[in-house]
C-alpha cells in the first residue's frame, strides 16, 4: 500500500474507452469475421451476392435469437440445455392447433406461450428447489422432446395457413428477411437490458458472486427465474420462425440446436463460468457461425463434417477466451 496523503482524487477510469475497445474480445471477433468473409469471397464466386448473403442469415437467426437470452442466463451462472426440446414441443403444439383449425395469430400465441411456460418450469425447478440447472435442463430436454415424440410418433404436422409462412420466409424490405430484422431488433433490446439497466448489472453481480449479491439486496432467485422465462420465450419465438420456414413439424425438429446456441454464446466472449460477457460479442459470434457454415456449404462440405467443425469450434472458443484474458491481465496489471 502507498502512503499518499489523503483525501485524494480517484479517477473514474484509467484506460480510455477507445483503447480498451481495441484490445477487446469483440475487436478480435470483428477481425475473424472480416477474414472469413474474405476467404469465402475468394473460395466461391457465388458468395458475394445480395441474395446469397441474405440466405446466409437464415443459418443463424433462429439460434441467435435464443443465444441473446442464453447469454444473460450463462452470465448469471446458469445454463439451459432444453432450448431445442422447447422448440420441438412448441412446434408440436402449434401443429396440433393447425389440425384443430387455428388461425395464424393463435398459432403464434401458442408457440410463444408454450416456450414461456417451459422456461418458467425450468426456472421454478432451479430457483425453488435449488437444483443445478445443468441437471434440471438435461431432464427437461428429454421430457419436452419426449412429449413431442409421443404426440407425433413418426408423423408430421403439415397444412399451416399460408399467412403463417411470412415469419420464416417473408422479407421486410428487398433482401432483408423478417427473421434478420427480428434478430437485430431483439439484439438491441437485449444489449440495452444487459448493459444499460440495473437488471443487467444485477445479472453480472449474481454471476460473479451470488452470495454477496444476495447480501447486497439483489433478489437472486427472482432474477434467475426471469432469465429462464426469457430463454424459454426466445425458444418459443424461434419455434414459430422454424415451423413457419419449414412449413411442417417433426419431433426431431431443431435437434442439436442447444449446442450451437451455447457455442455462439461462448464464442461471443461470455464466460462459461458466469460473470462476464457482452451482447455485441454474441451478435458478432452469430454472424461468424453463419459465415462459416454457409461458406462450408458453398464448398460442398457434407453436414457430418460440419458437425465435427462445430465441435472443434466449441472446444477452441472455450479455451481461447481464457488464454486471451490471461494475456490481457498481464498487459494491464
Amino acid at each position: 500500500m502507498t502512503d499518499t496523503p489523503a483525501p485524494r482524487h480517484i479517477p473514474d477510469r484509467l484506460d480510455t474507452p477507445l483503447n480498451s475497445a481495441i484490445y477487446s474480445w469483440e475487436a478480435l471477433l470483428v477481425a475473424v469475421a472480416v477474414a472469413i468473409f474474405a476467404v469465402n469471397s475468394f473460395a466461391s464466386p457465388y458468395f458475394l451476392d445480395a441474395w446469397s448473403l441474405s440466405d446466409l442469415t437464415f443459418n443463424f437467426t433462429e439460434k441467435a435469437l435464443i443465444a441473446l437470452a442464453m447469454a444473460l442466463l450463462i452470465i448469471s451462472g446458469e445454463i439451459d440445455l432444453s432450448v431445442a426440446a422447447i422448440i420441438a414441443l412448441a412446434s408440436t403444439m402449434m401443429g396440433m392447433a393447425v389440425q384443430a383449425g387455428a388461425g395464424t395469430p393463435v398459432l403464434v400465441a401458442i408457440g410463444i406461450l408454450v416456450g414461456l411456460g417451459c422456461g418458467a418450469f425450468n426456472g421454478l425447478l432451479v430457483t425453488r428447489l435449488g437444483l443445478p440447472s445443468i441437471v434440471v435442463t438435461i431432464g427437461t430436454m428429454s421430457l419436452f422432446r419426449g412429449i413431442a415424440f409421443i404426440v407425433l410418433g413418426d408423423q408430421a404436422y403439415k397444412g399451416h395457413p399460408s399467412s403463417f409462412a411470412f415469419f420464416g420466409q417473408g422479407y421486410v424490405w428487398w433482401v432483408v428477411s423478417f427473421e434478420l430484422t427480428l434478430f437485430l431488433v431483439a439484439a438491441v433490446i437485449y444489449w440495452f437490458l444487459l448493459h444499460r439497466t440495473s437488471f443487467g448489472r444485477r445479472v453480472f453481480a449474481i454471476g460473479n458472486n451470488p452470495v454477496a449479491a444476495q447480501f447486497s439486496g439483489v433478489r437472486v432467485g427472482r432474477i434467475k427465474f426471469i432469465l429462464f422465462c426469457l430463454t424459454g420465450l426466445m425458444a418459443g419465438i424461434a419455434s414459430v420462425l422454424i415451423t413457419s420456414r419449414l412449413g411442417s413439424t417433426r419431433p426431431s425438429i431443431a435437434q442439436g440446436y442447444e449446442l450451437e446456441v451455447i457455442t455462439m454464446v461462448v464464442l461471443g466472449g461470455v464466460s462459461i463460468l458466469g460473470g462476464a460477457g457482452s451482447i455485441v460479442g454474441v451478435v458478432l459470434a452469430a454472424f461468424i457461425m453463419g459465415l462459416v457454415t454457409f461458406g462450408l456449404g458453398l464448398l460442398n462440405v457434407p453436414g457430418i463434417v460440419m458437425s465435427i467443425f462445430i465441435g472443434l469450434l466449441l472446444i477452441i472458443v472455450i479455451a481461447l477466451p481464457i488464454v486471451w484474458r490471461r494475456v490481457r491481465r498481464e498487459r494491464f496489471t
Partner: protein, 513 residues
C-alpha cells in the same frame, strides 16, 4: 521452565519428563503484520498443553509453523532434543506431528480406512494396495481407541463431525504420531460428543503422546489440560502448570495489554430508541434475543466464536428467517424477508466474510459500491453511470480509499481497502442502522484506525451502529453498551462505564464473575 520431575498428587506419576517438542525464539511476520515475536512452547509426552489467547493472538500461525505450512523467520524447532526443520506439511507428518482441526481436513468421499491410511497404505506383493490388510488394520486402530463403532468401510461423508475427529485421531495413531495438535476440536460438537472426545484425549495421554490443545472454553481447559501457555498479540506472556493458575490469573494474562491503539474520542448524543428487537428466536442458532439500539449509539456484541452473534444479525437484516420474535424500527414493526427488504427499511448488514459475502470480485469498484443502491442511482431501471461514479467517489474519498481508479477490479485491492469498499457500499444506501460484523478482522492497523474513525463520524451524524467483534480492545474502545452472547442467548448487557475485559471474557465463557 521446570524440566525437573514433579509428582502429580493425584496419580503419583512423574508429571514432567524432557519435552518432546520444543519451539524456541520463533518469530514470524507477514507484510504489515507481526504475527509472532520470539515465542517459545514446549510439549511433553503424556501431557496436554493448552494454548490460550484471543483471536489474532498468533495461535493459528504457530500451528501452521508446527505443521510445516509456514516457515518461521527466526527460531528453532527441536524434537527429543534434536533440531529439525519442517519445510513442508509432508516433513512435519514425517516427524510425527499431526493436527486435528476445528473442521477436519479429511476426504469426504473416501472410506474411513482409506482416510486413515492415505499415503501409507499397506501394499501387496505386486505394489497394489492391500485392501484386506488395510481394512483389518483400520479396524484394529479404531478398536484400540475405543472407537470400534465406526465402520471402516463407511464413507467419511456419512459420519458426524465427532466421528470424523475420531478418524483423524486414528490416522494420527496409524502413523504413530507422537505430537498431536487439536485446534478447537470441540467447537462443532455437542456436549455428549465433547465427553467422548475427552475420553480420547485421556487415551492419547496414556499412550504417551504430547498434545497441544487449543480452546477458548475455560471449563474444557481446566478439565483436561496439564499445562498452559498464554499468547497475546503474537507474544508469549505466560506459561505453567494449570493447577497452579486460577482462571482470573489466566484471563488477566490474555487481555492485560498496553494500549497500542488510540480509539477516537467522540461526543455523540445518545437519543431515542431506533431499533427494538424482542423475543427473536431461531430453531437452532439462537433463542429469545431482545435488545434496544438508540440513535447515535454504538452497541457492541461480544461472545465466543459460535455464540450466535452473526446469525442474529443476519436474521435482523433479512438474510435468514426466524421462527418467532419482533423487530421494530422507529416504532414500525418490520419483518424483512430478504436483504432487499431490510435495505429498503434502512437496516444494512456489513458481513464478516469479506471475500465471500461482501465484495463482488470481478466487478469494478464503482459497481460494487452502487450495487445495493441501484434503485436510487438508476432512473426507471436505466443505469446512470455519472450518478454511480459520483456516489462511489463520495464514499471512497470519505473512507480514504487507496485505488488507481474507480473502474479497477476490487480483486486487485488489499484486504483493508476491500473492507473500505464493503463499508462504503452499504453506507451509500443511507441507512438508519448499520450492523458491522467483525469490521476490522484481518486488516492492517492503519485501515483499522480509518474504520474506527469513520464509525465515530457515523454516530455523530445520528446513525446507530451495531458492532459485532471478538476483539476486546475494539469492543471496549468503541461501544457505548456491550451485549455479551453465550450459546445462542444474551448472557448480559453492560454499560461501558468502567467495564473491564475480564468481566466480558468471563461472561462469554460462562464463568461466574
Amino acid at each position: 521452565m521446570d524440566t525437573t520431575a514433579q509428582l502429580d498428587p493425584t496419580t503419583e506419576q512423574p508429571l514432567a519428563a524432557a519435552p518432546r517438542l520444543t519451539l524456541a525464539g520463533i518469530s514470524k511476520s507477514f507484510p504489515g503484520v507481526r504475527a509472532l515475536h520470539d515465542v517459545s512452547l514446549s510439549l511433553y509426552p503424556g501431557q496436554v498443553t493448552a494454548l490460550i489467547g484471543e483471536n489474532g493472538a498468533g495461535k493459528s500461525t504457530l500451528v501452521k509453523i508446527m505443521t510445516g505450512i509456514y516457515q518461521p523467520d527466526t527460531g528453532t524447532i527441536s524434537i527429543d532434543g534434536q533440531a529439525v526443520t519442517l519445510p513442508s506439511a509432508h516433513a512435519a507428518f514425517g516427524h510425527g506431528i499431526t493436527a486435528i482441526h476445528q473442521e477436519t481436513v479429511l476426504f469426504d468421499d473416501l472410506t474411513v480406512a482409506e482416510n486413515i491410511f492415505l499415503g501409507h497404505a499397506p501394499r501387496s506383493r505386486f505394489g497394489t494396495i492391500d485392501w484386506r490388510t488395510m481394512r483389518k488394520n483400520a479396524r484394529e486402530v479404531l478398536d484400540t481407541m475405543g472407537a470400534g463403532h465406526i465402520d471402516a468401510d463407511a464413507r467419511l461423508r456419512d459420519l458426524g463431525i465427532a466421528n470424523k475427529h475420531l478418524v483423524a485421531v486414528a490416522r494420527a495413531m496409524s502413523i504413530d504420531a507422537q505430537i498431536v495438535i487439536m485446534d478447537e476440536p470441540t467447537a462443532a460438537l455437542s456436549l455428549k460428543e465433547i465427553e467422548e472426545l475427552f475420553l480420547l484425549v485421556e487415551f492419547l495421554k496414556s499412550e504417551g503422546k504430547a498434545i497441544l490443545f487449543i480452546s477458548h472454553k475455560f471449563d474444557e481447559i481446566y478439565r483436561i489440560a496439564d499445562r498452559y501457555t498464554v499468547f497475546r498479540d503474537g507474544e508469549m506472556v505466560g506459561e505453567g502448570l494449570i493447577r497452579d493458575a486460577g482462571q482470573s490469573q489466566i484471563v488477566r494474562m490474555m487481555v492485560g495489554r498496553a494500549v497500542d491503539h488510540i480509539f477516537p474520542q467522540r461526543k455523540a448524543e445518545i437519543g431515542a430508541p431506533v431499533l427494538a428487537v424482542s423475543g427473536l428466536s431461531h430453531p437452532t442458532e439462537f433463542d429469545d434475543i431482545g435488545f434496544e439500539l438508540h440513535r447515535g449509539e454504538i452497541l457492541g456484541f461480544y461472545g465466543l466464536v459460535g455464540a450466535g452473534r452473526s446469525e442474529v444479525m443476519q436474521a435482523i437484516s433479512g438474510i435468514t428467517r426466524t421462527s418467532s420474535g419482533t423487530i421494530t424500527l422507529e416504532g414500525k414493526s418490520i419483518m424483512p424477508k430478504s436483504a432487499a427488504d431490510s435495505i429498503d427499511a434502512g437496516i444494512v448488514y456489513v458481513p464478516e466474510e469479506r471475500g465471500k459475502q461482501g465484495v463482488v470480485i470481478g466487478l469494478p469498484i464503482f459497481q460494487n459500491i452502487s450495487l445495493p443502491s441501484l434503485k436510487r442511482t438508476s432512473k426507471s431501471g436505466v443505469l446512470q453511470l455519472a450518478e454511480e461514479f459520483a456516489l462511489a467517489r463520495a464514499y471512497t474519498e470519505r473512507l480514504d480509499l487507496r485505488a488507481a481508479s474507480l473502474s479497477q477490479d476490487v480483486g486487485t485491492l488489499s484486504g483493508g481497502n476491500q473492507q473500505k469498499i464493503v463499508i462504503a457500499k452499504w453506507l451509500a444506501t443511507a441507512p438508519k442502522v448499520i450492523i458491522l460484523d467483525e469490521p476490522t478482522k484481518g486488516i492492517d492497523i492503519g485501515s483499522k484506525a480509518a474504520v474506527h474513525g469513520f464509525m465515530a463520524e457515523l454516530v455523530a451524524q445520528g446513525l446507530s451502529v451495531i458492532m459485532v467483534s471478538s476483539e476486546l480492545p475494539e469492543i471496549l474502545g468503541m461501544s457505548d453498551r456491550v451485549v455479551v452472547m453465550r450459546e445462542g442467548r444474551i448472557a448480559s448487557i453492560y454499560d461501558n462505564k468502567g467495564l473491564d475485559a475480564e468481566t466480558l471474557v468471563k461472561t462469554a465463557a460462562g464463568i461466574a464473575a
